[in-house]
Symmetry: C2
Subunit: 257 residues, 2 copies
């Protein structure tokens, strides 16, 4: 049993500046993410929302988000020095404009910043209004493969006839496709299971992983061998056994039988 943990704390940044950036083409948003990071800028936030996510939020909350763009990026820089943080968000804005952004809104004060964040924070509540259930996945792909991943997710959605809302942490290539459905309908639930399987398959095909931050659990367990191969799985099982020789720590999760 772990009875004590020693944490190393870092100081909270004193200042933050936020930009909401609209892209007519998702491809440009994806290229922009790479351009920002390649310039040596590491924003605190680099969030992507695709057109399905934007439509969903706008329908629920009427924030005035554009319905004719393929993607929005929410970018935030932070640090200990106000002028430096401002300069950095301005550098981000310039890169966005040069990479095909249709509009860049940099928040002028805390109230405006709060307002830009509202869209991102509203995703989950907005989805809850839209359908009784959602299955939020956590696939991660190389950043350059984000447009291809989004295209394939949209194709899955079209093929099964259930909406997939896409948002995520673009700086990490971590996408959260959310399938919207009604679990009381057994046909829909069967579809959702197949759709999730296709999501996992596309992530692996594009050189990505099953999970960026949520972990494996039971749903992704059957895909672990495909994702990691038998040798890696065997080694990981042995490490688990080294830490948990009598298998009392969350048994039956993560590893396929």
């Amino acid at each position: 049993m772990i009875t004590e943990a020693l944490l190393r704390l870092t100081a909270k940044p004193k200042f933050a500046r936020t930009a909401l950036v609209e892209f007519a083409a998702l491809e440009d948003a994806s290229r922009t993410v790479n351009a920002i990071l390649s310039a040596g800028i590491v924003p605190a936030t680099l969030e992507l929302m695709d057109e399905t996510a934007i439509a969903c939020i706008e329908e629920a909350l009427h924030l005035g988000l554009p319905l004719d763009v393929e993607a929005i990026l929410l970018v935030e820089t932070d640090g200990a020095d106000e002028a430096s943080v401002l300069r950095e968000i301005e550098a981000v804005a310039a890169i966005c404009r040069a990479s095909g952004a249709r509009q860049v809104k940099v928040a002028k004060g805390e109230a405006e910043r709060e307002n830009l964040w509202k869209a991102r924070r509203s995703v989950s509540p907005a989805l809850a209004r839209k359908a009784p259930n959602k299955l939020g996945e956590d696939i991660t792909v190389p950043r350059s493969a984000i447009p291809e991943a989004v295209r394939r997710l949209k194709a899955i959605s079209a093929r099964y006839g259930l909406p997939i809302v896409i948002f995520g942490h673009a700086g990490d290539g971590n996408l959260h496709p959310n399938i919207l459905f009604d679990k009381r309908d057994p046909e829909q639930w069967a579809k959702v299971e197949q759709m999730a399987a296709e999501e996992f398959a596309l992530a692996l095909e594009l050189g990505g992983t099953l999970s960026g931050e949520h972990g494996v659990g039971m749903l992704k367990r059957p895909y672990m061998e495909q994702a990691l191969g038998p040798v890696s799985l065997e080694v990981q099982k042995r490490i688990k056994a080294a830490l948990d020789p009598v298998n009392i720590l969350n048994p039956g999760k993560v590893f396929p039988d």
Copy 2:
């Protein structure tokens, strides 16, 4: 066998600014390190050299370093935006002055920067001129315990009559005490082994670790049980066995028999 490794690269910072800071009292240098980090500034470099290290470099290279201070800090900030990097090193300089620095020299250009780095880079060559052998250790203590660690290292040096030169990565609490000696003298070698044992003991007493970055190997192997306790060691041995079931990966290192 590991036959392939996939590396994630980050962009090299475009700009860097460097400051060399003199402290009459080591205690103030140590407090300054914490003050810088608490202000939310995370320098790329936060190097400490104590008076023995300064004397050693100065004797070898005549760089004009002060011989009447207890410590020098070398601090470097870096980033993608020149003005921001400059503002950050100026904030560092202000904190240093407020924390009792006697002098703060911020390099004005690349040539001056190179010059400030010369002192830090000269430590190892300077030590080689001073004695035939050195034993460089790698103890790490909580940052607030750096002055106490340095005091105890000096006491060890005085007790055994062999110099200990102290420098290290102060931002991580990682000190590199270097015992200078002549291995051809068996009496000196016997002393050095005892001195190293005392260095390890003081690191553990102050809540630190045996190694900050160099690893355990054979020299620190006998101290592993004292450092980690039998339970942690047993778990770590099991993890090693999980990864190396027939014990062919660097056998006999790290774990005490």
